[in-house]
Amino acid sequence: MEAALWIVRGAAVYAIIGVFFSVWFVTRGIGRVDPATTGSTWGFRAMITPACCALWPLAFFWLLRGRSWKGSES
């Protein structure tokens, strides 16, 4: 019971941080990790928001790095 409570609380905190981060990321930060997003539509930004919420530590890492992994395979 106590463990279940902490799991749900932890998930909620993670999700809340994700929501705030992703709102900033899709409106401002995204251009720093993928220049191809410049001029992209709001529909596109809304569409990638759920994954930004879920993967916000990764998106944050990309921001610190200055770019994503795009093109790193070629």
Partner: protein, 352 residues
């Protein structure tokens, strides 16, 4: 391709596909609910709706998992493959509504948060009857969420195609979790053999199709390995229809030999693996002078395997020649985007 992103690159095919998908989902839920009132006579409306949603999501997941091997076995199924990601998102959304229904029906109404109530439920993993099958469904819905949320090309490009593909291969883990979820959950309540038979039939169809498609691929690869030389025979020119391609597998190379140009007199060999999502380029056709991937319409010039400006995708090219009416290709690749002069069909060899 590599210009500014859009939410969805709509075209007529996608609109028709999504319309049919929506109609199919509504029909499936309605049909299951109607039939369920007879078959599950003691079930409440909430239970019937919850099961109808689960049935629909599970059915769609089966279709998704069948589409890949079917397309490898026959190009006739390619229209199903195109836009498959929309079907994947639909599976997640229908599955999510099922999960919310189940959570509200079984875990709400008390003093505890429904999620806490679900997680805190007494469980015994050594007993099938007491096994927390809800956790299996929860894990599956989390995987389906991750797949649906990262289905946009932005994530494909930024996660890299290799990682993205690995992430999306988790669909098989999600499928296994759902099969276990159904077997331990639903089949514990409904013990009629027909339900177990249907579940096993679904698993059998998916496993059988994957094995059959893998076997066909293995035979193609073995045939190519046996004939491996500097240039390998592909087929008589007459077997490649103008504006289409023939795919040949040599070693690790998957090569598409496209027949193009006025009268179908030119032959060019490029990689059959689309740079976008690894799609089967060789199963596409020449549109506006470019080899066009059947998955998402990515285009490449046959001579140099480069996407026309402003796009920047490039594929490997190969030397191709025609000798005594036979198309032959050298499987040693040139660097992506290298121009290779097309082999030209002499007028006497022109045939279709």
């Amino acid at each position: 391709m590599s210009v500014a992103y859009k939410a969805v690159n709509w075209n007529r095919h996608k609109l028709v596909y999504d319309a049919l998908l929506l109609v199919g989902i509504i029909f499936s839920i309605g049909a299951f609910y109607t039939a369920g009132r007879v078959v599950f006579s003691g079930a409440t409306d909430e239970t019937l709706i919850m099961r109808a949603l689960a049935f629909t999501a599970f059915l769609l997941l089966h279709i998704i998992l069948c589409v890949g091997p079917l397309c490898r076995m026959s190009p006739r199924f390619l229209p199903l493959l195109y836009n498959r990601r929309h079907m994947g998102v639909a599976v997640f959304l229908v599955g999510l509504v099922h999960a919310v229904f189940a959570l509200l029906q079984y875990s709400a109404g008390g003093v505890l948060n429904p999620l806490v109530a679900l997680l805190a439920r007494g469980t015994d993993i050594t007993s099938i009857a007491q096994f927390p099958f809800e956790f299996l469904g929860l894990a599956a819905i989390m995987i389906l969420f991750l797949m649906a949320a990262t289905s946009h090309d932005f994530w494909l490009a930024n996660l890299t195609p290799r990682l993205w593909k690995r992430l999306h291969m988790l669909v098989y883990v999600a499928y296994a979790l759902i099969v276990a979820h159904v077997a331990i959950g639903f089949l514990q309540d409904e013990r009629r053999p027909v339900y177990l038979f249907l579940l096993l039939a679904g698993v059998g169809v998916i496993a059988g199709l994957h094995v059959a498609a893998g076997f066909m691929q293995w035979r193609r690869d073995a045939r190519s390995r046996r004939d491996d030389k500097s240039f390998v025979d592909v087929c008589p020119v007459s077997e490649i229809i103008p504006d289409r391609a023939r795919v040949v597998f040599v070693g690790e190379e998957s090569i598409a030999i496209f027949r193009h140009g006025v009268g179908g007199k030119l032959f060019s060999a490029i990689s059959s693996v689309c740079a976008h999502q690894g799609g089967p380029l060789g199963e596409g056709k020449i549109i506006d002078g470019c080899a066009t991937c059947p998955w998402h319409g990515y285009q490449y010039r046959p001579e140099d395997a480069q996407s026309p400006p402003p796009y920047t995708e490039r594929l490997k090219t190969y030397d191709v020649r025609i000798e005594e009416g036979i198309v032959r290709v050298n499987p040693k690749p040139h660097a992506p985007g290298t121009r290779v002069e097309p082999a030209q069909l002499a007028s006497l060899e022109t045939n279709v």
